[in-house]
């Protein structure tokens, strides 16, 4: 199944993902994600014009160098146009992007239609692959050219990594340090133009922007370091490119671009879900754990309060009585027992010594916080209970110690109940 053609196609698609993923990080961090979209569309008329001129000057009109050269030229002109419109008129960048994108794309479609219907005597020029991409049309010559351009782009990126990092993060400071910020911005934009153009034949002008934005967005979920993000985005882009090309080679009639983009989006989805710290799945786990902790701590507190009535804190109580206090589910007791905080014998439950210690701390935190609310924030005593109920689980020891000290180590809460200072004998 892995014949030479398929390997060529997958290599090409991985290459484009690698390059656009790495460069895309800078576009995304500069908040210029849509610039990639505009300049991909702006490349279409360039491809057509290059094809036309190839016929006129008598070279192979389908030579990849010629077509890429044309794409680079109009993508560049489009980019410069956007930048100068933004700078010299009152039109904002998003509007300028929209205008340039549609004008160039429109012109490109007109030219393309003209060529496809034999206007230049060329018959089927095969340029429609530049719309949605056709990786199957890649030949070793194309992949070689992509590799050379990609290597040039990545090498430049590696050499200027530090200045790029600084002009994206803090251009004003960079300028105060003598970096020619404008020139580096133009260089960076040029690299993005090349990265986009490299992928046009495979992914197509319509969807190429996704290959700039999606791998970068996915990589950002996994890391807080720029270098790691760039490397990861390159890997994710290459993976998406390879997968998309493979599937499109199997299902022959499906254009490659949409499949590559779908693969990249799937990787983004996984990243959003699973990435540590930022991932939605982990957030859900953390929320669940926190809710459990609150439930267990509330159970301990209720046991403590029952103990306050008769002074026997560690005495066994009926499970049903304890759960009835705040209609807690039976699982709360199982979880507390699992943590070694309570012991259960038949229908009775009692605090272990570890549970006693923890209960004393929770009750102390609650009452100190209540007192703080009542004294310092002038909240009426009959209003403080619910606020304290939420905060007592969230406050850390450091903050509580500071509050305790500020209140002069109080002994009773606003309702006159004692603040426990240690575990009763």
């Amino acid at each position: 199944m892995f014949d030479a053609t398929l390997i060529t196609v997958m290599a090409g698609a991985s290459l484009l993902g690698l390059v656009s993923g790495a460069l895309g990080c800078f576009a995304v961090l500069k908040r210029q994600s849509l610039l990639g979209d505009a300049l991909a569309h702006a490349a279409l008329p360039g491809v057509c014009l290059a094809y036309l001129s190839g016929g006129v000057i008598g070279v192979d009109p389908k030579h990849p160098l010629l077509l890429l050269g044309g794409a680079l030229a109009t993508a560049w002109v489009g980019t410069l146009l956007i930048l100068s419109i933004t700078r010299t008129t009152r039109i904002r960048q998003d509007a300028a992007l929209g205008v340039v994108l549609s004008v160039f794309f429109g012109a490109g479609i007109v030219l393309l239609t003209f060529l496809q219907h034999g206007g230049a005597g060329a018959g089927q020029a095969g340029l429609d692959k530049f719309l949605f991409g056709q990786a199957a049309s890649l030949v070793p010559r194309d992949v070689f050219l992509m590799a050379v351009l990609g290597a040039l782009v990545l090498l430049t990126l590696a050499i200027f990594f530090r200045p790029f990092q600084l002009i994206v993060f803090d251009p004003v400071y960079a300028s105060s340090q003598g970096i020619p910020v404008r020139r580096f911005e133009i260089l960076l934009t040029t690299l993005i133009v090349v990265a986009v153009v490299v992928g046009l034949q495979t992914v197509g002008v319509v969807l190429m922007a996704a290959m700039v934005v999606t791998p970068a967005a996915a990589a950002r979920q996994w890391t807080d370091r720029l270098l790691t993000m760039v490397v990861l985005a390159a890997v994710i882009g290459a993976l998406a490119g390879g997968t998309g090309a493979f599937v499109s080679a199997l299902a022959r009639r499906v254009p490659t671009g949409p499949l590559v983009v779908l693969s990249a989006t799937a990787l983004l989805g996984l990243s959003l879900l699973l990435a540590p710290r930022r991932g939605l799945a982990w957030a859900a786990v953390r929320r669940l754990r926190n809710r459990r902790r609150v439930r267990v701590e509330n159970l301990l507190k209720d046991l403590w309060r029952l103990g306050e009535r008769d002074g026997r804190y560690a005495a066994p109580r009926a499970v049903s009585d304890v759960l009835a206090v705040r209609a807690a589910p039976r699982t709360a007791i199982d979880q507390a027992r699992g943590a070694g905080l309570v012991a259960v014998t038949g229908p009775l439950v009692q605090l272990t010594s570890a549970g006693l210690e923890r209960a004393a701390r929770v009750v102390r935190n609650h009452r100190i916080w209540e007192l703080y609310l009542a004294r310092r924030l002038d909240i009426a005593a009959d209003h403080v209970h619910r606020d304290a109920e939420d905060m007592e689980h969230a406050l850390d020891d450091e903050v509580l110690e500071a509050i305790d000290r500020a209140l002069g180590r109080p002994t009773v809460d606003p309702h006159g109940r004692p603040i426990p200072r240690g575990v009763p004998a």
């Binding site: 961090l29 050499i159 200027f160 530090r162 200045p163 990092q165 600084l166 994206v168 993060f169 803090d170 004003v172 400071y173 300028s175 105060s176 340090q177 003598g178 970096i179 950002r220 890391t223 807080d224 370091r225 720029l226 790691t228 993000m229």
Partner: protein, 255 residues
């Protein structure tokens, strides 16, 4: 105190045709802890940017230690306003502070051991050493400000130019910064801050410039920070002044 750390001569800066600074003559002597004060829109930040060659000048010139800025860039450290950057950028505190070494270490070289040591020392001086590996989006406002300050300290400069270093910071950070600025001054460095809070000017600074598009007064705080000067700076003249200046610049362009 040999000379002037910073000298503005007949400086005019305009954004489009709206003048922001107009005929400013100002010299900040070396070894001072200096504040620039003035109402909103008085051109305080623009004055700093003019000193650092960040905005085009309509007229006049700036000298830093008697030379054009580009000749003495390495002797100057800039602390921009905290809000001027996106703190969700993927970088650690140490990464940001190391940026202060790029200019000295060369743009393409990896920061070496000496650079890392200086960055670490700078973090220690602002009390942030234990946060070196923390992602910058997880810092409080005061910690962000101290990170920026550490980046400037890592440059080991002779002139520190700061845009509202006390804006929106906690009490601990404010005390840290004040102590640090005094230490810099005591070691012969010059510090120039845009300052918003007038009450702390006499306590924190020893030299002050009052600015409202034009320079109202400048000099040692004891003599210059007077009711009369404050009234001249913050009184209601600015609107008239601005209209007059706009008319004037329009006239010049029309010629």
């Amino acid at each position: 105190m040999s000379g002037d750390a910073l000298e503005f001569h007949d400086l005019t800066v305009a954004y489009h045709i709206r003048p922001v600074l107009w005929d400013v003559d100002l010299a900040v002597p070396e070894g001072r802890l200096a504040a620039i004060i003035g109402p909103n829109g008085a051109g305080k930040s623009t004055l700093l940017k003019a000193a650092l060659d960040l905005v085009p000048l309509a007229s006049g010139y700036v000298r830093v230690f008697g030379r054009p800025y580009r000749d003495v860039r390495r002797r100057v450290a800039y602390v921009p306003q905290r809000e001027s950057v996106d703190w969700d950028f993927p970088a650690s505190v140490a990464d940001v502070v190391l940026m202060g070494r790029y200019g000295q270490a060369g743009w393409f070289r990896r920061p070496g051991r000496k650079d890392r040591r200086l960055a670490h020392e700078a973090l220690e001086r602002v009390g942030m050493a234990e946060y070196a590996d923390r992602q910058i989006s997880r810092l409080s406002g005061g910690q962000q400000q101290r990170t920026f300050l550490a980046r400037a300290l890592a440059q080991d400069a002779d002139l520190y130019v700061m845009d509202e270093p006390f804006a929106g910071v906690d009490a601990v950070t404010e005390r840290t910064i004040v102590a640090l600025l005094r230490e810099l001054r005591d070691r012969g460095r010059t510090v120039l801050c845009v300052q918003h809070d007038l009450q702390t000017v006499p306590e924190y600074f020893d030299w002050v410039a009052l600015l409202n598009m034009r320079l109202v007064a400048c000099g040692p705080v004891a003599e210059t920070f007077t009711h009369e000067n404050l009234h001249l700076t913050y009184g209601g003249h600015s609107a008239i002044l601005e209209r007059a200046a706009t008319t004037l610049l329009k006239g010049q362009r029309g010629r």
